[in-house]
């Protein structure tokens, strides 16, 4: 029997919601254990770093422009840190590198 698209979607969306919701509803107090607190404090840095590198190098289809975006992004983030400017700077670095290379 063919399953309706929206039934699939309901299952996927509910599963996803539960994954995101459970920790927020179950962990309602500040964790006192310093190791667990430290772990949770470090999580975003590690996750975002792992997700960014090396994926960013492959995002453009050419390592050279991906690397340009990464290097410029790191440099801008180091001196500035504004989300929009860093994102835009990375995009521009890719754009210009692609113009030169291709």
């Amino acid at each position: 029997m063919e399953i309706n698209f929206y039934v699939y979607l309901l299952v996927a969306a509910s599963t996803l919601y539960i994954i995101r919701m459970l920790p927020l509803t179950l962990i309602r107090r500040d964790i006192k254990n310093k190791y667990i607190r430290s772990f949770l404090y470090y999580v975003p840095f590690v996750t975002l770093a792992v997700m960014t590198f090396p994926a960013m190098l492959y995002a453009t289809g050419s390592i050279v422009s991906g690397l340009a975006g990464f290097v410029i992004g790191v440099a801008l983030a180091f001196f500035d840190g504004n989300l929009f400017r860093v994102a835009l700077g990375s995009c521009l670095a890719v754009f210009i590198t692609e113009l030169i290379v291709k």
């Binding site: 063919e2 399953i3 698209f5 699939y8 979607l9 299952v11 996927a12 969306a13 599963t15 996803l16 994954i19 995101r20 919701m21 459970l22 920790p23 927020l24 962990i27 309602r28 107090r29 500040d30 310093k34 190791y35 607190r37 430290s38 772990f39 949770l40 404090y41 470090y42 975003p44 840095f45 590690v46 996750t47 975002l48 770093a49 792992v50 997700m51 960014t52 590198f53 090396p54 994926a55 960013m56 995002a59 453009t60 975006g69 990464f70 992004g73 801008l76 983030a77 500035d80 840190g81 989300l83 929009f84 400017r85 860093v86 994102a87 835009l88 990375s90 521009l92 890719v94 754009f95």
Partner: protein, 246 residues
């Protein structure tokens, strides 16, 4: 009154920080829309999916399940596995919330826990006001949804060069979140460098590269963050500094 103003300030700040997210989302969700279209999903269906799921890898996987006409159990398991990292993100976010915050926010916030919104939220100093996330979602969700609908409706319309350039927008934003912290704090600098290095090795080395990117993210996050917590536990004051109001 002051509280309402505070919420409003955070909401507006969220909108501002949500703009680069929306920009990056547009490019990614466009590609997602094209994939959905190829799987025989209509623009309306694809738009609904994006609005309620807000998950790039998770949606690509869900589209595959639908295209293959797999069972609902497969859909639930696939979604669970691909998106496990959100358990870590939501747990981390739970520690930034005020204990006295109304419970309803704990049910609303998870609607908008994406890699990017989680990223900017963890970048907030001290306690997190949920209205910051809502502000970001106000621009990011339409960006994500409209991009998907357009991609599903028309296929490739953006010039290739622009699309390519936009494909790094979200990564650029991630850098803007982690690098400033690494600049100020040596432990974080080492942490970020080690994370990138290991991620690189895992994606390049034989055997290790067979591990899917979703699993790699969870595995490395748990191992590296645990090692850092063990070697360099944070003493009370670092995070405790405060945070007046809610």
């Amino acid at each position: 009154m002051e509280k309402a103003n505070n919420n409003r300030t955070w909401y507006i700040k969220g909108i501002k920080d949500g703009i680069p997210i929306a920009l990056g989302y547009f490019a990614v969700s466009f590609a997602l829309g094209i994939t959905a279209r190829e799987a025989g999903i209509t623009p309306l269906q694809a738009g609904c999916m994006s609005a309620v799921m807000l998950a790039s890898a998770g949606q690509f996987a869900a589209i595959n399940v639908i295209a293959a006409a797999d069972t609902l159990i497969q859909m639930a398991v696939t979604t669970l596995v691909i998106n496990l990292r959100y358990i870590l993100m939501s747990s981390s976010m739970s520690q930034k919330l005020d204990k006295k915050m109304p419970f309803i926010h704990r049910l609303l916030l998870p609607c908008f826990v994406t890699d990017e919104i989680f990223g900017i939220a963890s970048n907030v100093e001290g306690r997190l006001n949920p209205f910051y996330n809502y502000g970001a979602a106000t621009v990011a969700v339409p960006g994500w949804t409209l991009g998907t609908i357009l991609g599903a409706a028309v296929g490739a319309i953006l010039p290739e060069r622009i699309e390519t350039a936009l494909s790094v927008a979200l990564y650029g934003m991630f850098l803007a979140i982690i690098i400033p912290g690494a600049r100020k704090n040596k432990v974080l600098a080492v942490l970020v460098s080690v994370s990138m290095l290991l991620s690189f090795l895992f994606s390049e080395l034989p055997v290790l590269s067979a591990i899917s990117s979703g699993t790699r993210i969870i595995l490395l996050t748990v191992v590296i963050a645990a090692a850092a917590a063990f070697l360099r536990p944070i003493e009370e004051e670092t995070e405790e500094e405060a945070v007046h109001g809610d």
